[in-house]
């Protein structure tokens, strides 16, 4: 598709170091990166940047001077060394470990930095994405789908942002599944910072992936590129909740460009967080109605889920006067107490029982049925 893309000519550590150094250039979009490499030898390309003589961005242009100034503070070989020292593995386009799904991508990453143990070539991978401003419903669905798909053997790909992304990752790790997180900064940059614990568990038992070297900040221009990598690494993209102009919509566009299947989770027509997903359905996206459907359509094996299924049926078997009163949407606890006419003590016992088996969840002054 892209005439510029060809295996990156890396013969030795010196040329790899040059590519690594180039990847850190400010405002270097994937397209320009390929253009730089199209000029020939990466070592020569790097030296041209340093001396301000690169034909793409000579030192007399804005970009050229910015690049030159940045490059003059960089020693490529020690930069490469620090990536290796931090345990980061580097997969460049053309190296044997480069993810297969990205090789024929219309605009593949030149190289990927990776922290973690999981393979980047899982047999099945599904992206679960959505808004940071998600609702309790969206969290529930993200959690449910990620756990089910993860148990069925699919790797869950997402962006490790707040909201849907983080929920999906946490859920798949909780069932012992595999997670690939594509981030918009260096793999050592925790963004948002409150996700630190999750970052650490993904880097331990999943894979943290980035197109940018260590210490690169999660700047706005990097997010679209990050989103196209999420789409590229996945067989299908499930959008759980998104506003009509949400960032997840870019991921959907990128997925469509790459012939990936796009599923959208329907939501209430009154919910802003579902306006984008409902619109996708109206525009012809596939509808994600339940985890089982997805598992079937994507050709995943359900047998691995036996433990999960068992847990579920145990919960469904809970016989409770309270459970029948609780909705799948948040229900006021005060209202429930009044409706059931029980004492707070009696009510609490039942509440505790249902919370312990995971049949319901309490959020503030409300409870909602989980299954």
């Amino acid at each position: 598709m892209n005439e510029l893309v060809c295996p990156v000519p890396i013969e030795c550590d010196v040329s790899l170091a040059s590519v690594v150094a180039l990847s850190g250039l400010p405002n270097l979009t994937p397209r320009r990166f390929w253009q730089l490499l199209g000029l020939g030898d990466p070592i020569a390309a790097w030296n041209a940047i340093v001396s301000g003589t690169s034909p793409l961005a000579p030192g007399i242009t804005d970009t050229g001077t910015r690049w030159q100034r940045w490059a003059q503070g960089i020693d490529p070989s020690s930069m490469l060394e620090s990536q290796r020292h931090a345990g980061v593995t580097i997969h460049w386009h053309g190296s044997p470990s480069y993810p297969t799904r990205l090789i024929d991508d219309p605009e593949p990453p030149v190289l990927l930095y990776c922290l973690g143990t999981a393979t980047l070539d899982p047999s099945r991978s599904v992206a679960i994405v959505g808004t940071r401003r998600c609702t309790a419903y969206g969290r529930n669905v993200a959690r449910e789908l990620a756990a089910a798909l993860g148990s069925a053997g699919a790797t869950i790909v997402s962006g490790l942002a707040h909201g849907i992304d983080a929920t999906a990752h946490a859920a798949v790790l909780a069932v012992g599944g595999s997670a690939t997180a594509v981030v918009a900064g260096g793999v050592d940059i925790v963004y948002p910072r409150s996700n630190r614990a999750l970052y650490e568990s993904v880097s331990r038992s999943g894979a943290l992936v980035s197109e940018w070297p260590l210490r690169a900040r999660a700047l706005p221009w990097r997010f679209p590129a990050r989103n196209r990598t999420i789409a590229g690494l996945s067989d299908a993209v499930v959008v759980v909740e998104s506003a009509e102009r949400g960032g997840s919509m870019y991921t959907v566009d990128e997925a469509a460009n790459r012939n990936r299947r796009v599923f959208a989770v329907p939501g209430p027509i009154t919910s802003t967080a579902s306006s984008g997903t409902n619109r996708l359905i109206a525009d012809g996206a596939e509808v994600a109605l339940c985890a089982d459907d997805l598992i079937e359509t994507l050709g995943l094996k359900r047998s691995n889920r036996s433990s999960e299924v068992k847990g579920k049926s145990a919960a469904q078997a809970v016989d409770s006067w309270l459970l029948t009163e609780v909705d799948f949407t948040p229900t006021s606890i005060d209202l429930l107490v009044a409706q059931t006419g029980r004492s707070v003590g009696e009510f609490s016992i039942e509440l505790e029982r249902l919370l312990s088996v995971g049949a319901i969840r309490r959020i503030g002054a409300t409870v909602e049925r989980v299954r």
């Binding site: 940071r132 401003r133 609702t135 969290r139 959690r143 707040h162 909201g163 983080a166 929920t167 946490a170 859920a171 909780a174 948002p192 409150s194 996700n195 614990a197 999750l198 919910s271 948040p330 229900t331 006021s332 606890i333 005060d334 209202l335 107490v337 009044a338 004492s343 707070v344 003590g345 009696e346 609490s348 016992i349 509440l351 505790e352 029982r353 919370l355 312990s356 995971g358 969840r361 309490r362 959020i363 503030g364 002054a365 409300t366």
Partner: protein
């Protein structure tokens, strides 16, 4: 000539007797005060002189030296004014024949010679070793607490001199016509619904547990908090005396000729200064709001808006029941044993955890909740998330149980707790848990399940048992049954407000 007059000053909330020695002698006219006076004490010179002159008395044109003994004790405030004036007059032989040994003097003087109330009169009068005490008419009811002390309350210095010289009888102490602290009628019956929050309030009253109310604006958090003092038992003699002294020293109105028996309710605004909240201040060291709430309720609305340093300073009193205020001239200790009721929104928009959708971003919620410091939250045993009363309350709102009925249960629960030998269940030490807070098999299972599903931490578990103990006391059972334990867990486990990582914020 030399004279010696008895007065008192306040240190913390305790009175300290001060002997005012006055020497009037030859030399260039001068007026000096020595013996650790503070700024307002030094200003006494100007007030006293003006008061003497405007009362038609003679100011001696001589060298006047006033010594405040014992000299090692810092003197603060203007309560020594009257004693200094009387001392000067006596040393100037204007009060010959008066037996000053029988009298103590505690009042500030106005420039016109009028006697004015000073904060802490109650404590000062107690410290004065004299059978008769002269105070301002406005302080007469405070001074009248002390049996065996005759209270004299002339309106002016001139009148005082006439009475001392026997030229006219002592005036009758003024009648106190109004009750200074109006008992605002607020009854729990006015609160309908909110069953969990009402129960939590009852438990807070019975066990001395601190309470956090979370909910959107208009959920009725402050309405509920205001009703807590009404549920609490009357103050014991010891606490009542301390509380009344604090209020007197703080210059707050106190009931006429009796100790405060109703638990106080203080609700400082989050913009209140550190000194106003905790105690201290430049010059006279005043008790803060937390000490004024001694024995009662401290309500902090919009907890997250209070400065982190103020919230941090709450930890010591929550642990020890008192606050140490350090100043250049030494440390003052004020009592500060209160029930904390804190209220806050769950998130900037207020609707997180309600049926109505929350419109905040995760980041905004995190930022908001981060303002709550862990150590403070740790000391709050009861956390209730309230929602706005909705339509069903308006349709068939039964009136809630009245305060009197709930209070009766609280009192009998307190009696049960007292039999164990501890003031309140919230202070039961961990070592006696197994002895006093034994669990039924079912209750133990509930506790285990809550721990296993990460809804309680290890420390949370201990506190939960104490709360369960209080609930069992309210129910009148010896062992902790399942219902008491389940309710305690519900009230302790922090509601999961944001769980993008599945983390529980206990």
């Amino acid at each position: 000539m030399l004279s010696s007059v008895v007065s008192a000053t306040v240190r913390g909330i305790d009175g300290q007797q001060v002997v005012v020695e006055v020497h009037v002698g030859n030399g260039l006219p001068a007026f000096n005060v020595v013996g650790l006076p503070d700024a307002s004490c030094r200003e006494a010179r100007d007030r006293v002189r003006a008061a003497v002159l405007s009362s038609g008395l003679t100011w001696p044109s001589a060298r006047i030296t006033v010594n405040l003994a014992p000299s090692g004790v810092p003197k603060q405030g203007s309560g020594l004014d009257l004693a200094i004036a009387v001392g000067v007059l006596a040393a100037n032989r204007q009060l010959d024949g008066v037996d000053l040994d029988q009298l103590g003097f505690v009042a500030e003087l106005g420039l016109d010679g009028s006697l004015r109330n000073v904060p802490g009169t109650l404590s000062c009068v107690a410290a004065v070793a004299a059978p008769q005490v002269v105070v301002a008419p406005a302080s007469a009811h405070e001074a009248a607490f002390h049996e065996g002390i005759t209270v004299r309350a002339p309106a002016t210095l001139g009148e005082l001199v006439h009475c001392l010289l026997g030229q006219c009888p002592w005036p009758e102490p003024p009648e106190v016509d109004t009750v200074p602290v109006p008992a605002k009628s607020c009854d729990l019956a006015d609160v309908s619904g909110h069953l969990f929050a009402r129960t939590a309030l009852e438990i807070a009253a019975a066990g001395g547990h601190n309470l956090l109310l979370i909910g959107p604006p208009g959920a009725g958090k402050s309405m509920l908090a205001r009703r807590l003092p009404g549920l609490m038992p009357d103050l014991s003699d010891e606490v009542a005396l301390q509380t009344t002294r604090v209020h007197s020293v703080a210059g707050l109105p106190i009931p006429p000729a009796e100790l405060m028996r109703t638990p106080p309710y203080r609700a400082p605004h989050h913009s209140a200064s550190m000194a106003a909240l905790i105690g201290g201040g430049s010059g006279r060291v005043r008790p803060g709001e937390i000490s004024c709430a001694h024995g009662g309720v401290l309500f902090l609305d919009e907890l997250g808006e209070f400065s982190p340093s103020a919230l941090d300073a709450l930890r010591q009193p929550l642990e020890d029941g008192q606050i140490r205020v350090s100043r250049a001239r030494g440390t003052v200790v004020f009592p500060a044993d209160f029930n904390l009721v804190a209220a806050m929104n769950p998130c900037p928009c207020g609707f997180l955890g309600s049926v109505e959708p929350c419109r905040c971003t995760d980041a905004a919620r995190h930022r908001y909740m981060r303002r709550l410091s862990g150590p403070l939250l740790d000391r709050i045993d009861l956390r209730v998330h309230m929602s706005r009363p909705d339509v069903h309350h308006l349709l068939d709102a039964p009136r809630g149980e009245p305060t009197a009925a709930v209070r009766a249960r609280v009192l009998s629960a307190r009696d049960r707790a007292a039999e164990r030998g501890f003031v309140s269940n919230s202070q039961l030490p961990t070592e006696v848990l197994d002895e006093f807070a034994s669990l039924s098999g079912e209750a133990e299972q509930l506790l285990r399940d809550a721990l296993r599903s990460n809804r309680l931490s290890a420390r949370g578990m201990v506190r939960t048992r104490l709360v369960a103990r209080t609930i069992a006391d309210l129910n009148g059972t010896t062992a902790i049954e399942a219902s008491a334990m389940a309710l305690a867990i519900q009230l302790r486990s922090t509601p999961v407000l944001f769980d993008s990582m599945g983390a529980n914020h206990e």
